[in-house]
Symmetry: C2
Subunit: 315 residues, 2 copies
Amino acid sequence: DGALGATRAAVIGGATGTSNVEAAARYGLRATGTHAHAWVEAFPTELDAFRAYARLYPDDTTLLLDTFDTLRSGLPNALTVARELRAAGHELRGVRLDSGDLAYMSAQVRAELDGAGFPDVQIVASNDLSEFVIESVIKGGGRVDVYGVGTQLATGGGEGGGALGGVFKLVALDGQDRMKLTGDPAKASVPGDKRVWRARTGQGELVMDVITGLHDPVPQRGERVSDPTNPLGSRRVPAGLTWTDPRVVVMDGGVRRQAPEPLTDLQARARADLAALPEGTRRLLNPHRYHVSLGAPLQARRDALIASLRDRHGL
Amino acid sequence: DGALGATRAAVIGGATGTSNVEAAARYGLRATGTHAHAWVEAFPTELDAFRAYARLYPDDTTLLLDTFDTLRSGLPNALTVARELRAAGHELRGVRLDSGDLAYMSAQVRAELDGAGFPDVQIVASNDLSEFVIESVIKGGGRVDVYGVGTQLATGGGEGGGALGGVFKLVALDGQDRMKLTGDPAKASVPGDKRVWRARTGQGELVMDVITGLHDPVPQRGERVSDPTNPLGSRRVPAGLTWTDPRVVVMDGGVRRQAPEPLTDLQARARADLAALPEGTRRLLNPHRYHVSLGAPLQARRDALIASLRDRHGL
């Protein structure tokens, strides 16, 4: 309901299309958009994914370039598909940039598209855009034709602006691990089915959460667990910890598995959980960051998949 | 619905009461709060209002001190009522601060309450509180017993945080103008029934909006209109303006008076309205502020009411 109201307001304010197909149908708007990163992850290579999409929508294909590397993989593959489409009597409609320096990237992509004989391929930009980012892209010499604005338009930006930045990435398909790379290590996904283990001291104070593969063993004393957002941020699991599975199944297969709890129980649990956090993590200014790490076996599988994907895409 | 969800979440997070009586009834919470500024405005004097409230709730009275002046009017009147309640076998429960320097004010109020023999009267603080403001009040030596947190808890703060800061103030009662003063001229209300006139140049560019009394004439060339938030910000109405009433009645007496308009019409009107704004008002950084002023007759009535209220409260 919020998304529908936001879409309606955005159109009144001047937006010319929406990727929300329900809103498009309900308000008679133009539905528009591109494929997801998951589409690319679902194929053996990015070029396979681009070709499959272009076969389905030969006259309405906009290709998302940054699943692995915008300039070194996404753009060359898009140019290949653009030539193949033209040879078959069609034209690539656009390419989409969703990360990195949009001013620099869009100028580079525009130059390469023009140089290859595709001056009419549109450049679409997205990635948490606001009026301020758009102005900066324009002033920085960006060559963007279409701006995709969502979060900052619908929920307000800034600290505490209300947006929950959830995104969908494919992590496994038919039992095989899948992932998105990107240039920013913090935004590369973690492949495979996973679970969380939570460590406490003997006094009950929380120490760390460790994400493991669904069937990996509980983290071991001395195991090197790593911070996926910081390649240098690994640490060894200390001794004397008690591990629990913090997951509580309340809904399974569409069926509620627990009765609702009284609000007073929820309040008591929240208070106990907050009290168990390590000292410093609740400070308002520069708080300590609670450790959430990847277990060693999961990290090893992730590293192997990164190497394989880089290899397959010449990166 | 948003308010109910926010209240439920706040209670899980540790809040001990709510001023949302619907949420209190639905979730079995403690309903708590104080009277509004409007309660005080509805009586000839603040002391009359405090006494009337204490008669209704002799064992559960928390008095809001800042309708006219916290330390010079609100607090002395609250002490009078506290003594009267005690003489009748009751005790004043609390006082509430809703503006100004809460650390300084609460320390002053605590000292005066203690000195007058009321160490058990609680001090409640409100006014757009966040965890950061509360920490600053505590570090600044504030003596607050209860923090009333709302906007910043439910909608997120910061620029574009999503909160629409609407408040209710009484502006007229039985045909008589009413207003709230406070120490901050920007937060004093504008009394009486009002309407808005919108001025355009001959080329259709918007120049200013002028708020007048409902039955005042259209603003006149040369009339001195004033900015209610800035006592020095008055200006004379220039010549050559066309005035329109921007109000469109779409609902009246619970009945819809216009058919819904197509989204494309709304979009076209928004575009035309934005295009008519004066140059500079749409700039992202330090934009010009569009002029919204009070008409001279309304400003004169407001000044007279301020003088009368100050007089009645010894300010």
